[in-house]
Amino acid sequence: MVRIRVKESLLSSPLKENVPVEKNKRQEITIQVSPNGTVLNTLEHIGISLSRPVVAVINGQSADLGQELKPGDEIYLLPQISGGEQ
């Protein structure tokens, strides 16, 4: 089991119907999934499509989206932009 935390506003497609979801006040959803390869593979497997580039923080550490997952991992997907001054 791994746990993925992602802001609902980041999703560009609805989740698959059979994916169990918990929501909170910050428009974040938490999804429990079985380990299945990398972060990207897992997102694809459960039907998550993201609207913006993200950095994945796995168990508190920034990580490559290609990093393999292991049971118990907690993943936080953080949207990123670049630029903007004054």
């Binding site: 506003s9 560009s12 910050r26 990207l40 499509s49 993201l50 609207s51 913006r52 580039p53 993200v54 950095v55 923080v57 508190g60 550490q61 920034s62 990580a63 490559d64 989206l65 290609g66 936080y76 953080l78 949207p79 990123q80 932009i81 670049s82 630029g83 903007g84 001054e85 004054q86």
Partner: protein
């Protein structure tokens, strides 16, 4: 001829531009402020196709018309305002222009792009670019009104804050639609990271362009134009327009919602925003600065640039018992919040917004201001500044605001800080050298190279010093659906690329991305629109009807401009030894999302050598004759 005579010059418009058959005016105006002399360049079509505008034009004039190794604050430096090929057209994201000179902060290239309306207005007034030579004997401003250019006294404006100057110029010229580029007191006082403010709330921020303008006794350039900027192939440009209008609500949804401040919290949580001068990995005050709190507390309105419906700019209009913030000055962006907030350990959103307002009012670059203040706070913490009364400490919002006043007015410790962190460290001695976070003496933007390693290589290599704009964004290259990956795939690279490290593929990707973004900065197009090569070819070729333009040509133009930047560095005395970052990026954090991660020096050195090889430069970073010939740059070769 004297300034009091309000000397004027009239530009004859080119019938082809007036006939709306192309997107450039064909006129570049030179003004020598010492001699009060004007002259025009009327370049051939090939000049526009080879260099596009913006940074391309800036480098052309710096390399061809400015002697080597001049004093950046002396009369021989050039100050160039350059629109891009697409500036002023109906295409969203093109309400931008570039400003350039030799930088008084770095001694290297200063080239900063700015949004808003001024560039659009300059082209509508009849000019593609403005090249300022010499120094006026007394404060002056330029008034460019529908093809007529006038030098006017600015004695009565000297010392004024930017909003007051803009109001007075509009009132005295009797037109509230005039667009004003100007310096505030920071530029007048030659603060080495003073900005040039446009429309009061938009900055050509980096590398001290405001000090160059101040050294020329040039307070402002006021512009009004009424020409319509045309296009050669209207139907083709409509295709680009259709792509933008049908996709921007999705692709730019983040900017429509919260602008760049929407990323403050997530950048912090991912380890991308430096905290307390790079010494800590988590900031306890971050919640106050997240958009969820910032918006209801401070943001009262939104603003945008010419022909852009995104409205990513924020407006802060705020008053409490202690603080008043004027909405005229806009609101803080991501980089500003990062630099004045977490980097200084300040979690007080009102103090950060007030410091931002003052930076716009005085005309100061917020990134270098924040970087220098954070550096000073560390020096205070380590007891290196005992002789000053003013002791700004990490986390002190009142001291943050006071520091901005002190820097802009060069008061007390502020006089030292006005020189930037590198020069200040040189005065303070060896220990302070460890505290600076710079490349080519310019403070790093808020994209921590310990997370974004290839971005760090870009800081080390850039002709403009630490710069996040023409760079590879590692986390975008790691995300398969990003515009970065789409562009790299167009160039035949397999994506996504690893987040960490500087692999050979990432060096190749860096070359493509820096070339592409140098063309964006010459066009001059907003980086937030997710242009791919096919879109850029479509838009640029429509501007003049260059029907045979290809993605490969875009790459070649970008490589040409990057190589011109390298030639400028070499001509000004930089060597390969200067292609580096200060040691702060090797500081290993004990906690937080990038704990234990640094920018590996061996990997950086290897990446730079590979970059040189792929660019056709030797192992000291000197472009070969064959490379220069292939890019049509032999005329700029240095001895």
């Amino acid at each position: 001829m004297t300034t009091n005579n309000n000397h004027t010059f009239t530009i004859e418009f080119d019938p082809e531009f007036n006939g709306r058959k192309r997107a450039y005016t064909g006129k570049i105006l030179h003004i020598n402020l010492t001699e009060e002399r004007f002259w025009l360049d009327e370049p051939a079509d090939s000049f526009y196709r080879n260099l596009i505008g913006g940074r391309g034009f800036i480098l052309h004039y710096l390399l061809s018309q400015m002697p080597a190794r001049v004093d950046p604050l002396g009369s021989e430096n050039l100050l160039i305002f350059a629109t891009g090929l697409l500036t002023g057209t109906i295409l969203p994201g093109t309400g931008r222009h570039a400003v350039g000179a030799k930088s008084p902060l770095t001694g290297a290239l200063a080239s900063s792009e700015v949004g808003g309306w001024w560039g659009h207005e300059l082209k509508r007034a009849g000019l593609d670019a403005l090249v300022i030579h010499g120094q006026a004997s007394n404060p002056v401003y330029l008034w460019i009104n529908k093809g007529v250019v006038e030098i006017r006294s600015a004695q009565h404006l000297w010392g004024k804050l930017t909003a007051d100057t803009q109001t007075q110029i509009r009132d005295e010229l009797g037109d509230q639609k005039i667009r004003v580029a100007q310096i505030g007191p920071a530029g007048e006082n030659l603060v080495r990271y003073a900005s040039i403010m446009h429309d009061v709330n938009r900055a050509a921020g980096r590398s001290g362009l405001g000090a160059v303008m101040g050294s020329k006794n040039l307070k402002a350039v006021a512009v009004r134009g009424t020409n319509f900027v045309g296009i050669a192939d209207r139907g083709q440009l409509k295709n680009t327009l259709k792509w933008i209008t049908s996709t921007y609500k999705d692709s730019m949804g983040w900017a429509i919602s919260y602008g760049t401040p929407g990323s403050v919290g997530s950048n912090h949580d991912a380890g991308g925003t430096a905290i307390r001068n790079y010494l800590e990995g988590e900031f306890e005050g971050i919640d106050e600065l997240r958009h969820e709190n910032l918006f209801p507390k401070l943001i009262t309105d939104r603003d945008t640039c010419s022909h852009c419906a995104v409205t990513c700019k924020l407006v802060v209009d705020y008053e409490d018992r202690h603080t008043k913030i004027k909405g005229d000055y806009g609101g803080p962006e991501y980089e500003t919040i990062g630099a004045l907030g977490p980097l200084c350990g300040v979690g007080d959103a009102v103090a950060v917004a007030k410091a931002n307002e003052l930076c716009s009012a005085y005309g100061l670059d917020t990134i270098s201001a924040g970087g220098t203040i954070a550096f000073t706070m560390e020096c205070v913490e380590k007891g290196l500044l005992p002789d000053f009364e003013f002791h700004p400490k990490f986390g002190d919002g009142v001291a943050l605001v006071e520091a901005v006043h002190a820097i802009a007015n060069r008061e007390g410790l502020g006089d030292w800080m006005a020189e930037g962190s590198t020069r200040m460290a040189a005065r303070l001695g060896e220990e302070a050298q460890e505290f600076i976070a710079v490349a080519r003496s310019q403070e790093l933007p808020l994209h921590d190279p310990r997370l974004k390693n290839t971005m760090g290589m870009g800081y080390a290599l850039s002709a403009t010093g630490a710069d996040h704009m023409h760079n590879l964004i590692d986390n975008f290259a790691n995300f398969p659906e990003s515009d970065t990956c789409a562009r790299l795939q167009e160039m035949g690279l397999e994506t996504p690329l690893p987040l960490f490290g500087i692999s050979e593929l990432k060096v190749q990707a860096f070359i493509y991305e820096t070339a592409f973004k140098n063309v964006l900065d010459s066009s001059v197009i907003c980086h937030f629109y997710p242009y791919e090569y096919k879109h850029l070819v479509e838009a640029l070729s429509a501007a003049r009807g260059w029907t045979d333009m290809t993605p490969e040509e875009i790459n070649q133009i970008g490589s040409r401009i990057v190589t011109m930047g390298r030639l400028f560095l070499l001509r000004e005395g930089f060597t390969h030894a200067d292609d580096r970052l200060s040691s702060r990026t090797n500081y290993s954090l004990k906690e937080g999302p990038i704990a234990g991660k640094t920018l590996d020096e061996k990997e950086l050195a290897h990446g730079i050598q590979l970059y040189f090889e792929l660019m056709g430069w030797d192992n000291e970073g000197v472009p070969s004759s064959a490379t220069l010939e292939g890019l049509s740059l032999l005329d700029y070769a240095i001895e």
